[in-house]
Point group: D2
Chain length 351, copies 4
């Protein structure tokens, strides 16, 4: 396995969410406030519903960082659930089952499939983990990765570029979200993540599972509700001639630098970073929990019912964009460590 | 790691291409002709150039199959290069370097980046491996996976749906390819892969790197020249309301079956197969080697030059679709083995 | 990767130790008391020193278990450090460094090597993680694995069989430990782990990294201070003829069962469980922190010094045996899931 | 996964054995003769039987090496079976089954367990892959790894230290082997592998599956017939006091070097290389195929029979030692790449 890896754990309404992140080089300065800022950004965005007010996630670091600096050992990140006292019976770790089962499975969610796969009778056993709440920890993990990348001169940003068919015009996007909210409906959209300062040669062309673009695609598609991902010109490539797509290569004698005038490749050629900005976009489907619920069935009675209403956001593309940043940060950080080794930040900077 | 894994090896003009595929259950009937048919399909398609005539790939199986049946051990697949005698000097394994170096690196290829990363002076050391020729072995691997899946009632097909902006109309697509060829230019497009007969619950919602859609995205994006991938409604999700996107759930009393009337999810919900057809699309960029070459630089002299011309296809989307089938077959086969265990086909069929 | 995996995190004197365990099938009953019992056993044993009195580890489960049963999602296990208030300055996550650096690196420990590898100036940054305290979480992880295995009819036990050259005689072992303690010296020894009820065919012969004995060896050698591992007749095989080593195979017509009269293979043939008890032994070196310290150097001054004294146990082989049980439980549980699939306990029981 | 990985494939009497090795840095000089020498050494040794005369393995490299140097891409290694014409019917890839089934399963082999696990009726489907013949490819893989290590100043050697209870005295060992041969019996023994020139800090203390000693143990135990492994003082640690075991640390002012006067740790402390020689020993059980066969059963009839005689070696510890070198080379090479990154040999040498 790669030196850099992470796992997240925790149910949406359980006592806490946890992540263990391993392989960040020693000597990286960690700043809790910057991570909390990303956690805050994940909770915001026009179109978010009620639960957002309760939360206000703060990360606790309980291993792997000492005196504000990574020491090479695994980093444990914890976000406590502020709402736990309201859920401790229904989500109790031990004791007899309490509270109603969720049996009106929601279309577009893991509910039905998960119940079959894991042989459960209460869809809560599935939905608590499949919830986008899990991405909280990805953002925390991404925050640590970003700190490492920043020390290497690499920065990652994101923006929403489409909501409900509206492109770029933020006021029109908001109006569209208001319209959806009024209808009890939901909206999806597209966000774009950009990585600047990437060295040449992250990833590799030599095997299918070493390619940087393949890993980015996996990371992005793994985010809840993402249904598509594209790099650089992406799907537009299907409409253009080769001469319109590829980025010609130039050399500047004065600076002794190779450069391009365009970046339609989105920073990746042959499965490797080419030194240009990495540009990746992902599409999020509308949130599947509608206030005007969809038709579904009840798992116990098999009767037709309306799907249950677990959450009440109208649109969460801004939040997804923050998660997209985080997952991109992880993939790039992993590729950095794979390329340059790096048990300490000093090692990598000298490479 | 998963029980099912594979690696490919081999340079485009080397003596042979090789793959080792491990973890296919014992007892699966293997039919060389069916694999060769897929290899043939990969070589065909309107818009392919000269090299295709030389080749005519045939698979040799040299381990893991006995009397036409898998026995559980790793399967070695070999495709010999029919053109090897013309290349044995330039691609000699041992001996002094012969033949000219490739230094006019091609935009859109791994050439430049690979040379920097691996510290080479001859771009041939890179392009021989980054070439789409490598996908030959993925098709062979996919052929074995398909045989396993077929025995489980799962089938995989593909089709080209867009070329150079033309959708669905094959005559117009061909005209577009002819136009490109005349110009010395190239074209990309979109293909779609469909999987039928998928059981419920492949993949998992529990961790980012267990999700079936994430794995499909990685597999697809790992194919040479692919710049985007989408599942089900894909990027169209950014234009629709939630009520237009999610697939309502119904129950048929007579057959005692849960079903959907729509499949906008493309067969995956919550990172798991939901029993509907899996539908995945990928976009291929135009081939980067143009007969009217792009501007580039020479690695040695740093002078502006025209990129070298290694191949001469105009469009290879049909070939990519066959590779897309193969990679999808691998991911689904892997998910089957992960879900049902299965050291022998009998085990899996009984699950 | 395999479906079953875990990571531990946490420093010896940090606020808490954490583990995330993923892939335990849904539906396994979890009993906190049984895990705590193993944690207690790990802390006991003749020859343990002062710190043991402070601790008294208790596991908290904060994800993956609901109403006393696994639900398929990752299980987070936490053991709080009871002594944290005494260490919160020296081990503070944020803020200015406080307390003396450890620079008198201890022979036999990770101290010196770790400081070089991770480019640290304070050996505490290394020793806090390399400490055997980390195995606390392995015992907790093993406790969950054992619960799963028990539900499948598989049990795991261990015993100490040698201490400081004394074999089997516990009173003589204790006397030897007393002798070492008096001298300010330490002792190692050998323990044996036995697994009963193992089904045939865990592991595989088909590839080096699929072999059950290889995985057991890795798991055992990964325990702090372990320097050797053997299965069945082990090193004694070097003294015997083949006819004295191999276990002949018999068939009992009445029960329709294949059986052996001996188990010199220790339950593994050809990299696979053969249905007999798995018997594995490991040797632990004496604890490297001596009360009569060894010669070493100071990292800053390079002067010859006596190594620092971080802990004060005389012998910890009993504790290591409990960790050995845990790691064995993990490997066997992983092999069960690999062989039988198993997203729920019901699936596996039906296999 | 790590950048360095390999898989082997091929049946003992199939047309060829194959390995794919990926992740060796570009720029390593490869010398076919040196690999063939190791292949030859694997086939020799006092106590080998008839088949050895037929073989005489030669490696063919069919990818990843150009003009005698690695280019970064996967390396395909092939060893053809010189005896294939005698086996092509019994081991035919396609066509109707020919030749007798093997049903008299051999104690100490994978035969019985494999047949059950993979649901086969002919033990040949198992024994062809479980055979130690597979280690041929590990030796070839190890040969390439050794070439890489040698370029980094690291060398690996091995020696037999015990056969059938006889230690170090080679004439007495031979006599013991002669005795065994006369009886139709077999012998095992112990070999030792030594690695010189290892840099400090390969492996890591931070997680159980990152430890260098754990990986070495896995690699060694994965070799056919190995039943135990130990590092440095190994099992002798159970007989000694801590003051007799740990290697004190000294500093030499003149050379500005830290050093030890002893190496009872065998070069590994805290899961990391400490710069001293790595010393690892493994025990091989006597070959399970006896000319005076053991009792067993017939799979079809369930009658008591004598086990079949597939091979006729008396002792193969010298061969196992060569495989031990190879697996050690792989683990050390992997740890080098993990520590220093290294896409090209130049990168690693500059680290």
């Amino acid at each position: 396995m790669s030196k850099l890896r992470f796992m997240t754990a925790g149910e949406s309404h359980g006592p806490q969410l946890t992540a263990i992140l391993e392989g960040i080089p020693a000597g990286v300065k960690i700043d809790k406030e910057t991570i909390d800022e990303d956690l805050f950004r994940r909770q915001q965005g026009y179109g978010r519903g009620g639960r957002m007010k309760i939360e206000s996630d703060k990360v606790e670091i309980v291993s792997g960082v000492r005196f504000g600096e990574t020491i090479g050992s695994p980093i444990t990140l914890v976000v406590k659930n502020r709402d736990w006292q309201n859920w401790q019976e229904r989500m109790a770790v031990f004791g007899e089952p309490k509270g109603d089962k969720v049996t009106a499975v929601r279309p577009g969610h893991a509910d039905l499939v998960g119940v079959i796969k894991y042989n459960r009778s209460d869809a809560r056993d599935i939905l608590e983990r499949s919830s986008a709440r899990e991405t909280t920890m990805r953002v925390a993990v991404g925050g640590v990765c970003k700190a490492f990348l920043k020390a290497c001169g690499i920065t990652i940003t994101s923006k929403v570029i489409k909501i409900g068919g509206v492109v770029d015009d933020f006021e029109a996007m908001k109006a569209k979200i208001d319209e959806a909210k009024t209808k009890g409906d939901t909206l999806g959209g597209v966000f774009e993540v950009t990585v600047k300062g990437v060295p040449v040669g992250l990833g590799s062309h030599i095997q299918w599972d070493r390619k940087l673009d393949a890993k980015l695609a996996m990371a992005m598609m793994s985010i809840q509700a993402i249904k598509g991902v594209e790099i650089g010109a992406g799907f537009e490539c299907a409409n253009l001639f080769g001469s319109q797509v590829h980025d010609e290569i130039f050399y500047d004698e004065e600076t002794n630098k190779i450069y391009r005038q365009t970046n339609r490749a989105g920073g990746v050629e042959g499965g490797m970073s080419n030194g240009e900005d990495i540009v990746i976009r992902a599409v999020m489907k509308p949130i599947p929990t509608l206030m005007t619920p969809l038709k579904s069935i009840d798992l116990e009675t098999k009767k037709q019912v309306l799907a249950c209403k677990e959450r009440s956001d109208t649109c969460a593309v801004e939040a997804a964009a923050v998660v997209g940043e985080a997952m991109t940060a992880f993939v790039i950080a992993q590729a950095m460590v794979d390329r340059f080794g790096g048990d300490s930040l000093t090692d990598i900077k000298q490479s």
